[in-house]
Amino acid sequence: MTEEKILLDHGSGGKVSHSMFSDIILPLFENPELSKQDDGATLDIDGAKLAFSTDSYVVDPIFFPGGNIGDLAVNGTINDISMCGAIPKFISVGLIIEEGLSIKDLKSILETMATAAKKAGVKIVTGDTKVVPRGKADKIFINTSGIGVIPDNVEVSGHNAKPGDKIIVSGTIADHGITVLSSREGLKFDSDIKTDSAPLNHMVQSIVQSDCDVHVLRDPTRGGLGTTLNEIAVQSQVGIKIDEQSLPIRGAVQGTCELLGFDPLYIANEGKLIAFVKPEDAQKALEIIQQDEFGKDAVIIGEVIDETPGKVFLQTAIGGSRIVDMLTGEQLPRIC
């Protein structure tokens, strides 16, 4: 019997990642904040409600249409904090650089990080740099962590989905994953697809600060919309039903997925959120999201149902029904 080793699947964001978390990581660190398993931890420090999150970026290639590893890293952490309902304030940046990276590339990455932080209204306040010998990392890896403040009366969590809730997605799905894939060596092809990497903090605040009753916010990054909906179905112990025909997918993205055998439901997004909203507030919440610069293509894709807890169903275009499971393997390594 060979020794068990970490496989790329462990980094997929799907089932294998989840079992690594629950079997290896959680038992060692267990505490109420971590056990909630939301995008970031929500903390209560002497009455101040804060959100705290961290994420590492290893995307390959480091430059791709519409962005690079730098703004991806800044937006990613901003979004993780935002999905706790918080206003992101401060970010840290850790750079692990491979010997040989051009200074020009580094500058260009840092410039986009500065621009992304400014656009979102967050400050990069601390950081660290390490350089490793050639071959011991791949060009550059970035870790970002951040903290944000949760306004009073805001309480969103993956545990809060309720039967009847309408599910809104803030725009087209699978853009980021397909962009990165199609800019890889060996698989280059011309298309006008670009990453959707974007800060969602303003969009989030405009809905949570409205009088709409928002129960869950989540950004469907690694593992895609399908995996994220499964996580919420399990966390809240509810069923979820979505309608295939309502899913917003760009033609070029759909075409690439068809060509390569990928399911857009499992492809990463970096500038989209899903919101679970009380049914009577859904239309209003949708309109608020659509008014945001990153939410123009927002639509309602489904609802929470009172049966089959933990399961996600898709109503297909031809009127059939099927289960949407959590991603079980690695579709695309190093997508973020």
């Binding site: 089932k15 060996g186 031809i318 099927r322």
Partner: protein, 361 residues
């Protein structure tokens, strides 16, 4: 890159119409086999099982290339990964298929150079870029991919590449259908014949098998409308008692097929016996390199001849591929065998029936 032609074949109104017709003509219980793994996936993805009459059972056939690859061939791929200075190139689906002792994914995690390619031509390019190493391509596939593999060999000759070779586990579709028809216990009332394979082979390739066994056979495309249409035709043939070989995918498939691709395939490869997982040896169902091209044969180059090994105990992949069992009837399904811990290849490949059942039902 708008694939406009796809939408028409997913049209909800057309689909409703076909579903209504299917329910109208269907009287008897029927067992229809979709031969191709891509059909299996499409049937699940579009929820086709949930819209057809209960009496119509859809069985997944031996048309998922990874699923029918013999254990000893998987063992050979793993063994190549363990040879020093060898880069193993493979389609992604093979990475996690368990051999007797390991998988390509595990070998990669242990330091072997295993690379996923989307085309055999990527493997040729890897060989060009790594002249101090040997590049082995795991050739697993049907008539759809064999011509491109043949073309890569011809390309290798032209570019004088001598560090590239293939291990051929290629297979042919019609002999497998014939083998199924004579297997004890197999009951099939109709074949949904593969679309991609038929683009290459043409309708004519199935004529002998059809005439011999007189089983309703319809070539189908992969969109829901295509598949519903094929199901309707197969039910109609059964109900009126007139089996026929029909081409319901004429926008892509002709009687003759792609003659040029067939020529390239037959220039480089010749028909040979082949081992199919769970089924055993089927005469003249494989494609091996012709003598003059055997410098590209990795098995010969590396003297690789893995012994035949029994398949994992309890794994019903073979019976599932022949329509004798459904995945749910396998004792390991969802217990010992899941996509995270697959026992048999049907649970690994994205086109495998067990993986599709697991994921979509």
């Amino acid at each position: 890159m708008a694939l406009k032609y796809i939408e028409e074949y997913r049209d909800a109104t057309l689909a409703r119409d076909l579903i209504k017709k299917i329910h109208g003509v269907s009287k008897r219980k029927l067992r229809l086999m979709e031969v191709c793994g891509t059909h299996t996936m499409s049937i699940f993805k579009h929820g086709i099982r949930s819209v057809i009459p209960e009496g119509i059972t859809l069985l997944s056939g031996p048309g998922c290339p990874v699923c029918v690859t013999a254990q000893k061939d998987i063992d050979a791929f793993v063994e190549f990964a363990r040879v020093k200075n060898v880069i193993v190139t493979t389609f992604g689906d093979l990475m996690k298929v368990p051999g007797s002792s390991s998988t390509l994914a595990k070998e990669k995690a242990s330091g072997a150079d295993v690379r996923i390619v989307y085309s055999v031509f990527d493997a040729i390019n890897i060989a060009k870029d790594n002249i101090d190493k040997e590049v082995v391509f795991c050739a697993v596939g049907f008539e759809t991919t064999i011509p491109t593999i043949a073309a890569s060999i011809l390309m290798g000759i032209e570019a004088k590449i001598d560090n590239f070779s293939i291990y051929s586990a290629n297979k042919l579709t019609p002999p497998a259908l014939a083998a199924l028809m004579v297997t004890k216990g197999v009951e099939i009332d109709g074949f949904i014949l593969p679309g991609h394979v038929s683009v290459i082979t043409g309708t004519n390739a199935y004529r002998d098998t059809f005439e011999k066994y007189d089983v309703p056979s319809v070539i189908s495309g992969f969109e829901p409308i295509d598949i519903l249409k094929a199901i309707l035709l197969l039910i109609e043939q059964n109900e009126i008692g007139k089996p026929a070989l029909e081409n319901a995918y004429p926008r892509a498939v002709s009687d003759q097929g792609n003659v040029k691709a067939q020529q390239i395939m037959n220039q480089v490869f010749e028909v040979c016996n082949a081992f199919w997982r769970g089924i055993g040896e089927i005469p003249l169902s494989g494609m091996g390199l012709k003598k003059e091209y055997q410098v590209f044969d990795a098995a010969i180059k590396f003297g690789m001849d893995m012994p035949e090994v029994p398949e994992p105990k309890g794994c019903a992949c073979g019976e599932i591929l022949m329509g004798l069992k459904t995945p749910e009837q396998c004792a390991l399904y969802k217990k010992k065998c899941t996509p995270m811990t697959p026992v048999g290849p049907c649970m690994v490949s994205t086109e495998g029936s067990c993986a599709a059942f697991y994921r979509y039902s």
